[in-house]
Symmetry: C2
Subunit: 190 residues, 2 copies
Amino acid sequence: MKYCSYCGSNSIAWVVPAGDNRPRHVCGSCNEIFYQNPKIVVGCIPEWEDSILLCKRAIEPRYGYWTLPAGFMENEETTQEAAERETLEEANARVELLGLYTVMNIPHTNQVYMMFRSRLLDLEFGPGSESLECKLFLEHEIPWRDLAFPTIVHTLRLYFEERRSARYGVHLGDIVRDAHRAIFIPRRQR
Amino acid sequence: MKYCSYCGSNSIAWVVPAGDNRPRHVCGSCNEIFYQNPKIVVGCIPEWEDSILLCKRAIEPRYGYWTLPAGFMENEETTQEAAERETLEEANARVELLGLYTVMNIPHTNQVYMMFRSRLLDLEFGPGSESLECKLFLEHEIPWRDLAFPTIVHTLRLYFEERRSARYGVHLGDIVRDAHRAIFIPRRQR
């Protein structure tokens, strides 16, 4: 941020505003404060019988890697609408949502993932503009080493583990980075 | 938004960028696209024996109305850290989080509320700079007509209902407005 989007001034400072406790972009001319907050990424696990639908990414980051349909929640929609829209956009697929499944914080990327379980309504799916390919996978076919993001890996791990008993919880946890990789830390519900 | 925060140009248009499907603020000079996304509000229900802690707001909106400690999630933190921080800032209170409790979409204000159940660690609480007063309430003492927001009303309704059996779920729902008031629509988990 170099210019104030309200007054056009270039006197933008990175300072702690009066009454606040952390630095923000503040305009030295009109005093406007610009807040930046985490974004919500919403998606789903589309089921069809024993398979689930994955999309091969046609965009960066992680071009060519497999993911569940998911993307940034937009203004004026609900998390459920966002999950359905992303599934339609990325896989041309229609789903019925079954429930909120994972909520994962990624503090180092300022994101919160919210993934739903869902049921594919038909087999009329295919890659949208952000996907190279969309395909159903049985559990033993999941390309674990070629999944795009830790949130996807850990959501699918929880899902296949719980699917054996067909009892699904709602899981909260954090993705944290150590020197080598991203680790999922579950936060138990009591 | 009147000026581009990257290049300072005043040729900001509200248009659908190429490859997108909804209008954004786009700079006609440097082509930067400015996305706006929903914000996350995080808070908790602090329990102490049969009471819960509420804060009387010292700021607008809803100055003088009662609320649970809650506020905007910040970058570089988790939802749990945000809930603890807001409780400390608004009520000078330390809590142990017990679990995620409600997730409420408010599409007309571009917010998603995430409220946790929690346990007050001690009685050393008191109003922070955004509160006029902080006080413990038994269920029959809750000032239902003077609660600040529909999200707080519906989170507390669910909480007291479930407290009778001491079995708590995770609740997803939407706050929608009709002509007269805000209605809570629960979205059932299956």
